[in-house]
Amino acid sequence: MKAVAALGRGLGTQIGIIRQSGLGSAGTLIVLFYAIVAILAPLIAPHDPWLTLRDAEGAIATMRPPSAEFPLGTTFLARDVLSQMIWAARTTMFIGLVSGLISIVIGANVGLFAGYYGGRLDEALMRFTDIVYGMPFLPFIIVLIALFGRSQNFVILAIVLIIWRTSARVVRAQTLALKQRQFVLAARARGCSDMRIIYRHIMPNILPLLLLYTAFNIAWSIIAEAGAAFLGFGDPDHISWGGMLFELWISGQIRTAWWWFAWPSIAIITLVSALVFISRAYEEIANPRLRQR
């Protein structure tokens, strides 16, 4: 319990850092907004996102620009863009969060163990990381999906299998520096176990870094999912913003349906830039070398 409380205090300080910056606060608000939309999706979506809609006169409402009846317009197949946007927020946030969190846990542990133990374990883990660095990210997702099928779980799996690599390298470098420090040497002299040193002494000191890379990983996951979905390798049962743009692209309506293009694009850009602004604000403040001299 004490460890959890300490972690909570640490997190509190870090969030305080983000709030010092205007861009960081704006980013936090945007992320919170999408999170709320994602959670409330079933309650706030006005229509079934897959339903072919008809207007008041009973005609099939295909390709309608935004109006009072369809606030964000409709698609080629007469589906409500607003409802699709809301459900897509849920898919995108879910994939981003899950892949971001799993990948940071893997990356942090690989980095901590490689850095702390050094020697052969370090060599093996880092060579493996090098191999993963040789994998082209988006093509890997495409091949995996082409082989195993268009499902959300495989999208997450493909993303996680690649993006842990960056955090692993960065965490390892930090761990290498920290393990020579007095407090770690002292803990070892006191006879602390390796696990205790790694998780109680070293890890709290790289917490800012871990948070920074969690934000990066979530942003990268969202971009990757959007890219894969746009190329037609998303889960057809879970609509996402990238998937909406894929449907627009293959429908060939791109010259006319500006609304169908604009809303998902704006959503992706605002969510990803919000995450980038949070991490940038955090980096600027947490890294004293970049502070105003």
């Binding site: 060579r127 090098d130 191999i131 660095y133 040789g134 994998m135 082209p136 990210f137 988006l138 093509p139 890997f140 495409i142 091949v143 995996l144 999906i145 082409a146 082989l147 195993f148 099928g149 960056t166 942003a219 971009i223 990757a224 959007a226 890219g227 746009f230 190329l231 037609g232 390798f233 990238g242 743009l245 692209w249 791109i254 010259r255 500006w258 293009f261 694009s265 992706i268 850009i269 605002t270 990803v272 830039s273 980038v276 602004f277 940038r280 070398r289 970049l290 105003q292 001299r293």
Partner: protein
């Protein structure tokens, strides 16, 4: 130095081999008939049996694996399911198309990023610094298909300034790629894809250069150069920027690795006949031989790029210990 390069080369070769192995395992784990990934289901029974023997698909897995490696090295990548052309013949010219677009995109990304970053760091907090930071971060947050489609809608469909895709107009057929490059028509076609790549990747080298300039500007040798009374632009370029460049080179390897993903998207949006488009089309049509080979080539491009970045980094900074 020599020893370092040799070791890097060996590591890179090993990485390629490892990725080829992972790919083999992935393709064998695919649900369904394991032969369906090398032999087109459209072939008749006799042809299927002949293919089965050629690829050793009746042999034990380990034999198949060595045959697979041998076929990779000897460029026997099988035939496309959709066109029954040899995979190698399909991909060889696609490869150069991809390299051409990547080179153009990355050249402008680094040239513009480094120069802007240099001035931004030098005039920290100025209008350019703040404006370019926000602008670049937003452009980076827009996946390349959004930027690409936006450029298509505005500059191509609405204003009709640029063609909507491809590498050349239907009328402009040239003997070779080299001859094509020097036609105005080709340059006209490459503008939008290059612009898309540059917009997407600009933020990374630019912001790294800016931050690195800030660090360098606080150092003694820059102070000293100033104290000597050198004109400011000389201090900025010769003393500060030169050293700040190092950080950009470090990040280059990571950026180049990512650039492949953007490449796949840009090629799809602008129907650029490169490896990325080949791979997307093959994967969606379940044309496994083409998908597999193009994935491997993309991986090799990433690995070679990383190798070049590593070597140039150690060449630029003689201080780093080559033993590491």
């Amino acid at each position: 130095m020599k020893e370092y390069i040799v070791r890097r080369l060996i590591y890179s070769a090993f990485t390629i081999f490892a990725i080829a192995t992972i790919l083999f395992v992935m393709f064998r784990m695919m649900p369904g008939d394991p032969t369906a990934q090398v032999i087109s289901p459209a072939l008749d029974e006799v042809a299927q049996r002949r293919m089965r023997e050629a690829f050793g698909l009746d042999e034990p897995l380990i034999v198949q694996y060595f045959l697979y490696l041998k076929n990779l090295v000897t460029l026997e990548w099988g035939r496309s399911f959709t066109s029954s052309e040899k995979v190698y013949d399909i991909l060889v010219y696609r490869f150069w198309n991809t390299m051409l677009l990547m080179a153009a995109g990355l050249f402008f990304t680094f040239a513009i990023g480094i120069s802007l970053g240099m001035v931004m760091g030098w005039r920290r907090g100025g209008k350019l610094d703040i404006g370019a930071t926000i602008g670049a971060l937003i452009m980076q947050s827009a996946p390349p298909f959004i930027t690409g489609i936006l450029l298509l809608i505005t500059l191509s469909y609405r204003l009709d300034l640029f063609p909507t895709g491809g590498m050349h107009s239907p009328g402009n057929r040239q003997e070779s790629l080299i001859a094509l490059i020097f036609t105005g028509d080709f340059l006209h076609h490459i503008v939008l894809p290059t612009l898309t790549v540059t917009a997407y990747y600009l933020a990374t080298p630019m912001l790294i250069m800016r931050d690195s300039m800030l660090e360098v500007l606080g150092s003694d040798y820059v102070e000293f150069a100033r104290a000597k009374g050198l004109p400011p632009h000389k201090v900025m370029i010769r003393h500060a920027a030169r050293n700040a460049l190092l950080a950009v080179v470090t990040i280059a390897s990571i950026l180049l690795g990512f650039a492949i993903g953007g490449q796949v998207i840009v090629e799809t949006v602008f129907s650029w006949p490169g490896m990325g488009l080949a791979m997307v089309e093959a994967a969606s049509r379940h044309d496994y031989p083409v998908a597999q080979a193009s994935f491997l080539i993309l991986a090799v491009i990433v690995i070679v790029m990383n190798l070049i970045a590593d070597i140039s980094y150690c060449w630029l900074d003689p201080r780093i210990k080559l033993g590491d």
